[in-house]
Every structure is written in structure tokens, then in C-alpha cells.
């Protein structure tokens, strides 16, 4: 049952009906049942790991919470009796116990994730070294199937557990509510990675059916299906062909393939988000947004604040800030103050960024190509930090007005080109293949007037499909521009009903004519995570 299938739509529709029929206090129970059924349909074996994660984080959070409560009660009761030292010692003792619980649970869950995701990578990498030194390679007979969505729900659960450890909020007392938080099906396979405090308010509060939510949710779902099925799935086979055979194409075609991929993955991932956010809107549930027009970013750092925002927020909160704000990082900053204020501030941040981006690369994929991809992203962000004083100096000297539209356009195009090239590094296959694709564009300088050489995918019946995909892409870009001023749905809501109906029917039939045949092969790109 794929997300773009008729079966999934039926499943969502039935869940929606039952959700609004049952008493409001039981709505979250309907979501829980639906989530379990959804996962069982897609991956029967994987449900065990979902339950394991949910159970371990629930128990650990409850244990940590009870220790916190015990600490507060004890200190309150003995406020006058204990000295300051005794109170500190007691707090440290409790904190040590809480830390042990946290670490053990993290080790278990991250261990499961690493086992499924990185086992083959670890074996292959070890074998490369073993072979280099003349040893026998390790046999890899494990046929591991990565449980669906494990990267997403594991990280989401870790976030919850760490927040409870940091005492941001209390642990959830109801096991089934904790299970729903982990397994909520609209975000199970590709996120967003939600914060417990925000999501629990949405999941466990009572919801009334409103026409506004229903219609806006439906509109957003339809738009998401269009992006995924019409734009992403039409581009997919040609991107795949260019990536697989880049050495037989001229450089310009290789470049076109790179930019087609950046459009494809954005349409694919944001399309998924629109489908799920739209569906949740119909349920009167607000999911965290993951995209904010990322290709309009002016630099790489801004790009990563607009692309896959919940993942970026997760890494920032749970890896970057703990590393950057740690004692050793502060000490490092103090020790390097002799090199200047800029150096002492930037150097610890550099270390934290390198660690964060290496982890980000690893999260995305178990290969050296992904690690390099992560590090390259990190390097560009680090460089912008280090070079900021120089950039500021140059802008002043060259009288560059940052508010100038042309300058902004230059920044946007520059960033788009840069992130598109970085994106393909892990997507072609191995690291050398990824670099080979990029290199092809710069080494194969044949200029051709032959349309079929430049655009090999534009042939016969493909021309119509690609024309429709490009038309919808242009429409999307225009709507994204308009979206900067005001949400496009507000414009849309003001149109007469017949015009809105006509627009939605047009999108529906475009999906039917072009999207459905194109979707017979295309699974979502981020599902593999």
C-alpha cells in the first residue's frame, strides 16, 4: 500500500469517518488503531521494533519522571533539614540515575537503528580495510530489511526522551498515548520529526469537524499528489537514466540531470508533506511544516533552515547545541580568545557543526557518499561563518546593497546551483560516481544544437508528459512567489466556488492522465530512511 495508492486513500477516508463519528475523547484511540493497522499492512515484521521503541522510551521516561518527582518531593519535604551541600549531592545522585536510564535506552534504540541501517556499511568498510592488509573479508549473509520509518520514529522518540531528561515537560503517563506519538501513521514513513509537546497537544485534544479544515486539507492533499505524481514521478526515470549513464551524455545534459534531480526530490518530499499535512488538517491536527520555499534561500545555512526543517531543528537541538554549549566547547573558546573574538567564537562552532553535519550525513544514508555529502554541507556553512568579516568588507567596498533585488536574485541562483550539485553526491551511487557526474558537466564540453542529444528524454509521447510536468512546475514556482506575501490558500479561498471547483478538477484530471501512469513505479524517495 503506497501513499499514492487508491488503497491508502480508502484507508485515510475510512479513518476520517470513524474519527469524527466516535466520541471526541476517543479520537486519539482511532488514530492509534489506524496507525497500528497501517504499519501492519505495510510491514508486519517491523511492528515489533515500533512497539519496542515505544515501550522502552515510555518506561524510561516514566522512570526518569518518577525520579524527578521523588527528588522534588524529597527536597521540598526536607528543605529546612538539608544543607546546601547535601541537597547538591542528592540532586547529583538522582541525576546520575536518570542519566544511566537515558543512556541505556538511547543505546538500545540507536543500537537497533544502527544495526539495521549501518551493519552492511560497517561490514563493507571493514572488508575494504581487511582486504588492504591481506586479511579475509567478513562474509555478509545478513539479509536485513530496514523497518519502515525507523530513522524518523527513532529520532522522534529520542527527542521526547531527552526532553523528559532535561525536564522540559513531564513524561506521558498513558502508554497508548506514547505509542501513538511514536507510531502516528501520517508521519511514520517520512516525518516530520515532531516535538512531543507540540504534537501531543494536537493528537490528544478533542477535535470538531469544520468545513474549512476539510476543504483546505483536501486542497493541500490534492496539491501534494500533483507534486509527487505529476512532477516528481515524471522526472524520475530521466534523472535515473542520466545518473546511471552520465558518461554517455554530454556535460550539459549531465547538468540538466542534476537540476532535474533537485526539482524531483523537492517535489517528491514536499509533495509527501502536503499530502500528510493536508490529511492531518482534515483531522484538525496541525503537523509541523518541513519546507519553507528552500530554493529561494540566499545561502546554504538559510537553505538548511528552510529544507527539512524538523530534521534540522532536531539536529540543532539535540546535537549541535549540546556540543556547542558543552563545557569543553566553552573552554576551547576561552583558550582561543588570543586569536581574536571572531576566532574564539567560530572555532568551537566549527567543531560542533562538523559533528552535526557528519551525523546528518550518516542519518541520510549508510555510505561514505552520504557522510561526505553531510560534511560538504557543513563546510559551506562553516566557511560562511569564517568568511563573514571578509564578505562584509567586500560588500562595503563594492557598494553592494543587500536589499537590492538583483543581488538577491544572484544569491538565490548561486545557492540553488550549489545545493543542487551537493545533493547529487550520494544519489548516483558511490562517492566516485557522484563526483564523476559533477565532473562530467565540467569536462565534456561538447556543445550541440541537437535537441535530442541535449534532452534525450524528450521523445514522442514523453514530450506531452514533460510539457505538463513543466507547466505544473512553473505554476508551482509562481504560486511560491505569491506565497511570500500571503498564504496562497487565502487568495484561493476568495475565488468563487465554481472557479475553485474548476481549478481542483483540473488538477485532479492532470493527476489522472499523467500522474497515475507515471506513479506505477515511483516510491517516495525518503521512505528508504
Amino acid at each position: 500500500m503506497t501513499i499514492t495508492s487508491f488503497a491508502f486513500l480508502t484507508f485515510c477516508f475510512l479513518t476520517l469517518i470513524v474519527y469524527y463519528i466516535v466520541p471526541k475523547r476517543a479520537q486519539w484511540v482511532v488514530l492509534l488503531f489506524s496507525s497500528i493497522i497501517f504499519y501492519l499492512i505495510i510491514s508486519v515484521n517491523g511492528i515489533f521494533f515500533v512497539l519496542l521503541t515505544a515501550s522502552t522510551i515510555y518506561l524510561s521516561a516514566r522512570l526518569m519522571q518518577s525520579l524527578s518527582d521523588q527528588k522534588k518531593l524529597y527536597l521540598k519535604q526536607n528543605k529546612q533539614l538539608l544543607s546546601k551541600e547535601q541537597k547538591t549531592q542528592y540532586k547529583e545522585k538522582i541525576q546520575r540515575k536518570r542519566r544511566i536510564i537515558l543512556v541505556l535506552t538511547l543505546l538500545l534504540n540507536i543500537g537497533i537503528l544502527c544495526f539495521f541501517k549501518y551493519c552492511h556499511f560497517a561490514i563493507n568498510s571493514s572488508n575494504s580495510i581487511l582486504i588492504l592488509f591481506g586479511f579475509e573479508p567478513i562474509e555478509d549473509n545478513l539479509n536485513l530489511i530496514i523497518p519502515l520509518g525507523i530513522s524518523f520514529y527513532t529520532f522522534q522518540s529520542i527527542g521526547y526522551l531527552v526532553d523528559v531528561y532535561w525536564e522540559y515537560y513531564s513524561a506521558e503517563k498513558n502508554y497508548f498515548k506514547a505509542l501513538l506519538f511514536v507510531s502516528f501513521f501520517p508521519q511514520m514513513t517520512q516525518g516530520p520529526i515532531s516535538d512531543f509537546e507540540q504534537l501531543s497537544k494536537e493528537l490528544f485534544s478533542e477535535h470538531s469537524f469544520t468545513y474549512n479544515n476539510y476543504s483546505r486539507g483536501f486542497q493541500r492533499m490534492l496539491w501534494g499528489f500533483m507534486k509527487k505524481m505529476v512532477i516528481a514521478n515524471i522526472l524520475a526515470p530521466w534523472v535515473k537514466d542520466v545518473f546511471a549513464n552520465y558518461h554517455s551524455y554530454i556535460g550539459l545534459t549531465a547538468f540538466i540531470g542534476i537540476f532535474m534531480y533537485s526539482i524531483q526530490i523537492y517535489a517528491d518530499f514536499s509533495g509527501y508533506m502536503d499530502i500528510m499535512c493536508g490529511y492531518c488538517e482534515m483531522l484538525d491536527i496541525k503537523l509541523a511544516e518541513n519546507f519553507q520555499r528552500p530554493y529561494f534561500s540566499k545561502n546554504v545555512a538559510e537553505y538548511w533552515r528552510r529544507w527539512h526543517m524538523t530534521m534540522g531543528a532536531w539536529f540543532k537541538k539535540y546535537i549541535y547545541f549540546p556540543v556547542a554549549m558543552s563545557n569543553w566547547s566553552r573552554k576551547l573558546g576561552k583558550k582561543t580568545i588570543g586569536f581574536g573574538k571572531h576566532f574564539s567564537e567560530t572555532f568551537p562552532a566549527t567543531i560542533a557543526l562538523l559533528i552535526t553535519w557528519t551525523a546528518t550525513g550518516l542519518w541520510h544514508g549508510a555510505s561514505w557518499a552520504y557522510i561526505v555529502w553531510g560534511i560538504v554541507n557543513g563546510i559551506f556553512i562553516i566557511l560562511s561563518l569564517w568568511l563573514e568579516p571578509i564578505y562584509a568588507f567586500l560588500r562595503e567596498k563594492l557598494h553592494i546593497n543587500e536589499a537590492n533585488s538583483l543581488w538577491r536574485v544572484f544569491q538565490v541562483i548561486r545557492t540553488y546551483v550549489l545545493v543542487s550539485f551537493i545533493k547529487v553526491i550520494p544519489e548516483v551511487g558511490t562517492l566516485s560516481q557522484g563526483l564523476g557526474l559533477i565532473g562530467r558537466g565540467f569536462s565534456e564540453h561538447t556543445i550541440t544544437s541537437s535537441f535530442s542529444t541535449l534532452f534525450p528524454f524528450l521523445a514522442g509521447e514523453n514530450l506531452l508528459k514533460i510539457a505538463i510536468a513543466i507547466f505544473m512546475l512553473i505554476l508551482w514556482i509562481i504560486l511560491s512567489f505569491l506565497q511570500r506575501k500571503k498564504p496562497i490558500r487565502n487568495y484561493f479561498a476568495k475565488l468563487p466556488l465554481w472557479l475553485r471547483m474548476a481549478a481542483l478538477l483540473a488538477i485532479f484530471f492532470i493527476i489522472v492522465v499523467v500522474g497515475i501512469p507515471a506513479s506505477k513505479e515511483g516510491a517516495f524517495l525518503y521512505e528508504a530512511f
Partner: protein, 335 residues
């Protein structure tokens, strides 16, 4: 409640408008399926039918069969046609024609394929004569969770038909004057020296017969016999390179011989025709490894007619190789 009523009302309006547009488009397409119209016009006249999948669709030229065997034939074959599809279309024609002979085109994978194949089934639906028959076939053969592809296919084709009618109202509909036969151009499939070595017995055909197909095959044979029609199994020629590549053609042939003996049906495997290397060659006789080109189809149809005429007068076993292994020894790739 007010919100709920509004949502239902607006949803219903959307669904109804979408349904009306879809029904218009789909009915235009269904109406345009010329094969059905032509068969209806010929109802009562046909006495020689060919039923198979794409191998048959591209191989049997009814005009040649009509001229040589003094009959009125029709090629009912369709691309990816499943056995259920073959049964449905064949039964319709058996009911309205006095059929004397039915060729069952059986390719190397006809019996090993799944009983249901969406793409094959969706081509069958518009070819069925009655709306009731179309609905019944659709509902019984296409899983509800796969309705999206047939819907997309029919709607798209219908939209294009409608646009053609609007933009070019004077354009003539494409008539299938070949009585079901669909010709293809030729492609040079000749193997070069290194390919001959590389590809020899480099793969195998699937040989596990799907028993569900046998059940339907039996029903089809039964229907033919009840209608007084004689059944003939025919294997149409595939390219020399195709035979050269696969190592287990004899398993397929042996399975087919068993079946033909069990059902007391004549079997002609034209891959094993001794004259095949004179009649067909990889340069001009095939469109791809499995389908004859127009030139190849004409030669094949003529050969078929010759063999049928000869078989009435004499034994023809000596005109065929006894096995694929024997045949491969005479292959031009073995020279």
C-alpha cells in the same frame, strides 16, 4: 452538523462533476474501439478464429488465411491478453458465429504468466460487446485497489478521442481493416560474433505452469467443442537470437506436447518448422525477439495455411524438428 452537511454537499458536487466528465470521456473511448464495431459487423460470418496474446496479434494475417483456406477469419488476439480475457472474447464470438476452427496461440510464457494482468485486462474490457459484459469482466478481474490505472487509461484515451473529434471533426476514425491483425515494422536483430558466443544458452524461460491458466484453457477448449469448433495449438515463430539465448525451450515444448495430447488437440510449433531458417531471418522477419514484423507475419501466415492444407492430405511430422535442441544445431548462429 452544518459544516458536515456542507462538506458532504460540496464533496458530492465534486464527485458528480468528476464522474460525469469521466463517464463522457470513457464512453467516447469505448465507443471508439473499432475492433468491437468491426466484429459486430462481421457477426455471423466468421468461421476461423485466432485467439492469443501479442505473439498472435502480430503473426496471423486474416486476409492470407481467408484467401488460402477459403474461410472468414478474425484475429481476436490482444497485447498481454490473459487467459481470462481470451475466454471472454472467444465466448462472445463463439456465440454469434458458426465457428469451425479456433487457433489458440500459445507462446513460451502464456501458461506461466499470472491469471490476471491489469494491463492485459484493461485492453479486453472495451472490446467486449455488451456493457453488462464489460462491467462483469472489469469487476471480476481487476482488483478494486488497482482501479486507478484502468481509470487513467480509459479517461486519457477518451479525452484524446474527444479532442480529436472536436479539433478534427472530419478526420476518419482509424479502421482496423486487417480483421484484428496489427502489423509491425522490422528490426535487425542479427547477433554479431561476440554476441553469438556470449548469449548462447545464457538464460532460461520460466517453465512452471500456472494451474489457473490450465483451468481456463480447458474451459475454452470445452466451449469450442460444444460450439462444434476444432481447436489447434500454434506456437508462432520467435527470432533465432531468442531461441539461441535460452537453454530450456524443450521444457516448454514438452509441456505443450503433453497438454495437446491430453486434450487431443493438434499442435504446430512453427519455431520447429524445418523451413524456418529459409523463411525467417533475424534481419527482417521480426520487430523484436518475440514478435514478427509485417513481412514475417505474411510469410508465417502463408506457411500456416500451407501446413494446414498439407496436413489434410499427408503426415507432416517430417516437416518439423523433433526438438529445439535438434533445431538449434541447424541455427545460422551455429555455423
Amino acid at each position: 452538523m452544518r459544516h458536515f452537511k456542507k462538506a458532504i454537499l460540496v464533496s458530492l458536487v465534486f464527485i458528480i462533476i468528476a464522474a460525469v466528465i469521466s463517464a463522457t470521456s470513457i464512453s467516447v473511448y469505448f465507443n471508439d474501439v473499432s475492433d468491437r464495431k468491426i466484429r459486430s459487423e462481421l457477426a455471423g460470418e466468421l468461421d476461423y478464429l485466432i485467439i492469443g496474446a501479442s505473439h498472435g496479434l502480430r503473426a496471423f494475417v486474416p486476409s492470407i488465411i481467408d484467401d488460402n483456406l477459403n474461410c472468414s477469419s478474425y484475429n481476436l488476439s490482444g497485447a498481454l491478453m490473459t487467459f481470462k480475457g481470451r475466454e471472454a472474447i472467444l465466448n462472445e464470438e463463439l456465440q454469434r458465429n458458426h465457428v469451425k476452427n479456433v487457433i489458440f496461440e500459445i507462446s513460451y510464457n502464456a501458461l506461466t504468466r499470472p491469471l490476471n494482468e491489469i494491463e492485459g485486462d484493461l485492453h479486453v474490457v472495451p472490446r467486449l460487446n455488451s456493457a453488462k459484459g464489460r462491467v462483469a469482466y472489469f469487476l471480476s478481474n481487476i482488483d478494486v485497489f488497482h482501479w486507478d490505472l484502468p481509470y487513467s487509461y480509459y479517461f486519457t484515451n477518451g479525452t484524446f478521442s474527444l479532442l480529436k473529434k472536436i479539433l478534427r471533426p472530419s478526420a476518419q476514425d482509424t479502421q482496423d481493416s486487417n480483421k484484428g491483425y496489427a502489423p509491425l515494422n522490422a528490426t535487425d536483430l542479427t547477433l554479431n560474433k561476440s554476441e553469438i558466443q556470449e548469449k548462447y544458452n545464457s538464460n532460461t524461460n520460466e517453465t512452471t505452469i500456472n494451474k489457473e491458466n490450465i483451468v481456463v484453457l480447458e474451459k475454452m477448449i470445452d466451449s469450442c467443442r460444444k460450439a462444434g469448433a476444432n481447436v489447434i495449438f500454434v506456437v508462432t515463430p520467435v527470432s533465432d537470437s531468442c531461441i539461441w539465448e535460452s537453454s530450456n525451450w524443450d521444457v516448454f515444448y514438452s509441456n505443450l506436447k503433453e497438454l495437446s495430447a491430453e486434450y487431443n488437440v493438434k499442435l504446430y510449433d512453427f519455431n520447429l518448422l524445418k523451413a524456418r531458417y529459409q523463411l525467417f531471418n533475424d534481419k527482417i522477419s521480426f520487430y523484436d525477439n518475440y514478435h514478427l514484423s509485417n513481412d514475417g507475419a505474411k510469410l508465417f501466415s502463408q506457411s500456416y495455411c500451407n501446413i494446414v492444407k498439407m496436413s489434410d492430405k499427408q503426415a507432416i511430422d517430417s516437416l518439423f524438428y523433433s526438438s529445439y535442441s535438434e533445431m538449434k544445431e541447424d541455427s545460422p548462429y551455429n555455423q
